[in-house]
């Protein structure tokens, strides 16, 4: 790049016009978008604040003093939600994968295992979570057996695992069955055993394909982790409920809602980004696992 080369490229008059026109258009769209946003917000705010009940609603739902006073208790409760969610998620994935694989086993000798997995999934996917929680939470310790935990958090987590592993097992099964039979045939013809085929050919593809569905269940789990409060655990929602009844003011519920959203939105975005970087989302295209 030395020497007096030809003068730097300069756009032609037509190109300059084009650039100007585009810049003008862009500025115009920006202004219109801003004006429209301001107008819509103003109308919404006006409609809200001019309603006759607004002062009381604001006092009942958006009281900064109550919000501040209730924040520590709710944040502490949310920490329990996070721990329950993470712990359960790990166990759920393991149990669900085992169930899904058990359901796809072929051969008459595996019939009891298949039947058990199918029955388990049918039952726990059919039972409302809250019923499972009540039955496990109040029923199991009532048996007074040795080794049964009497902790609301452990019992609640057990109920969450029972219910969610049934859902997640079906997600895994859908992934496993989406792998084309020709892949299994090819792997077997190369001399891999059934177990090796499952482990090295089918499962990696199956798991990639169901990552979005798994994330969906994880977000649902993060919210349902609050249901263990009916067994006496103090999670974010229950902490908010306690504060709400103490002040006769709903602001703690709003605080809990904000905290939950603040927890799940970054979770979703982060996992989206990881999925994109690993090219998982593209593996959906084509039966050959995205190789096409």
């Amino acid at each position: 790049m030395s020497g007096p080369g030809p003068a730097a490229w300069a756009p032609s008059a037509t190109q300059r016009d084009r650039i100007d026109f585009r810049r003008h258009q862009a500025r115009r769209s920006g202004l219109v978008a801003a004006a429209s946003t301001v107008a819509v917000t103003a109308v919404a705010v006006l409609a809200l604040t001019s309603s006759p009940g607004w002062p009381r609603v604001r006092q009942s739902f958006f009281d900064p003093d109550v919000a501040l006073a209730s924040l520590p208790a709710i944040a502490q409760g949310l920490w329990l939600n996070v721990r329950v969610m993470v712990g359960c998620a790990v166990v759920i994935v393991v149990v669900a994968l085992a169930l899904a694989v058990a359901r796809t086993l072929r051969g008459p000798v595996f019939f009891p295992l298949r039947a058990f997995a199918t029955g388990y999934i049918d039952i726990f996917r059919g039972l409302p979570l809250i019923l499972v929680l009540l039955l496990v939470g109040f029923g199991l310790p009532g048996l007074r057996l040795q080794g049964i935990p009497a902790s609301a958090v452990l019992l609640g987590s057990l109920a969450l695992v029972l219910t969610y592993s049934a859902y997640v097992a079906e997600v895994f099964r859908a992934g496993i069955e989406s792998v084309h039979p020709s892949q299994v045939a090819a792997a077997r013809s190369l001399g891999l055993t059934r177990a090796q085929t499952m482990r090295t050919v089918v499962l990696p593809q199956a798991v990639r394909r169901v990552v979005p569905a798994l994330l969906n269940d994880l977000v649902a789990l993060s919210k349902d982790s609050g249901l263990i409060s009916i067994l006496g655990a103090i999670d974010a929602v229950r902490a908010a409920q306690i504060e709400t009844s103490q002040y006769a003011n709903f602001t703690p519920y709003v605080v809990a809602g904000v905290l939950f959203v603040a927890l799940t939105i970054p979770l979703t975005r982060a996992t989206d980004a990881i999925a994109r970087r690993s090219g998982w989302s593209r593996s959906q295209g084509g039966l050959a696992g995205g190789a096409l």
Binding site: G142, Q246, Y247, A248
Partner: protein, 280 residues
């Protein structure tokens, strides 16, 4: 820019705004009661809210209309003071959250063992107290805390109470247990948790404690009352903040206290608390 679409959007927004046009629910004409005295939700009728299920001894058999049970009886006595015959009283089911929600209420007054507190007074109106109670500790025979005579002996126990109640707050403050008090949705679940072994002891108000140890729990033991501290727990009738009925209802409760009706109803429905020692 597509003009029809803009117009359609504008029209839709206008419709949406009209649909939620402000209606001031607080502006009901005050003098519309047919008897000319009180502005209640329904002319000439008094609507009272309570929870479902309602528990004994407050309301017998979960049927507030029977007049049986302390709160049902008090409600009818208050209604009578206000000039409503028993037939003019309607009952509605409400939760605590519905009681405290801003906006139109489904009841004129609510009676649901709601304790009067300064925090709650910010957002609710209360009548004067119709009952002062203490909180009591209940456990099962054979529990390590069954023979407890001091608060210190309860500190290591896992304690349960109903969420949002003074029982829960007082358990936290007075017993100050080493593990946080477990909150449950209602007193039924509190009892279940005790029976199932999820908690070692529970805290409920004294009349409830006397009732469940006598009638509901197998092997229930009333350990004792908790000291009330500076301000005893007082139950008040709940009204919407700024309700026109607050003053008349308070006058009615005061009159019932003055003429001995409340004491008589207490003696009739709430077992005498003399048998429960105070834990120090």
């Amino acid at each position: 820019m597509n003009r029809t679409r803009v117009l359609a959007l504008a029209a839709a927004s206008a419709l949406a705004l009209a649909a939620c046009a402000p209606v001031d629910d607080g502006a009901e004409p005050a003098a519309s009661a047919s008897d000319g005295a009180l502005a209640t939700l329904a002319d000439g009728r008094l609507t009272i809210g309570t929870s479902d299920p309602a528990f004994e001894p407050w309301i017998v058999d979960n049927d507030p209309t029977s007049g049986e049970g302390f709160e049902s009886a008090v409600a009818y006595a208050v209604a009578d003071q206000l000039g409503f015959a028993a037939g003019d009283v309607d009952w509605v089911t409400v939760t605590f959250d519905q009681i405290i929600a801003p906006g139109a209420k489904t009841f004129d007054v609510a009676i649901n063992q709601v304790s009067i507190s300064d925090e709650r007074k910010q957002n609710l109106d209360f009548s004067s107290s119709y009952y002062d109670t203490a909180q009591a500790v209940v456990t099962l025979e054979g529990s390590p805390v069954a023979g407890a005579t001091t608060l210190a002996e309860l500190q290591g126990a896992r304690i349960g109470a109903m969420v949002g109640t003074t029982s829960l707050q007082i358990a936290e403050d007075v017993i100050a247990p080493t593990t946080a008090v477990s909150p449950f949705n209602d007193n039924d679940q509190v009892k279940q948790a005790l029976a199932a072994g999820l908690v070692d002891a529970i805290v409920v108000d004294l009349p409830t404690a006397l009732y469940i140890t006598a009638a509901e729990l197998d092997g229930g033991v009333l350990v004792g009352q908790l000291p009330a501290g500076d301000n005893p727990d007082q139950f008040g009738l709940v009204l919407d903040k700024g309700s026109d009925l607050t003053a008349p209802v308070t006058e009615a409760v005061d009159a019932l206290r003055a003429d001995g009706t409340l004491a008589a109803l207490e003696a009739q429905w709430l077992t005498d608390a003399a048998g429960a020692p105070v834990l120090e």
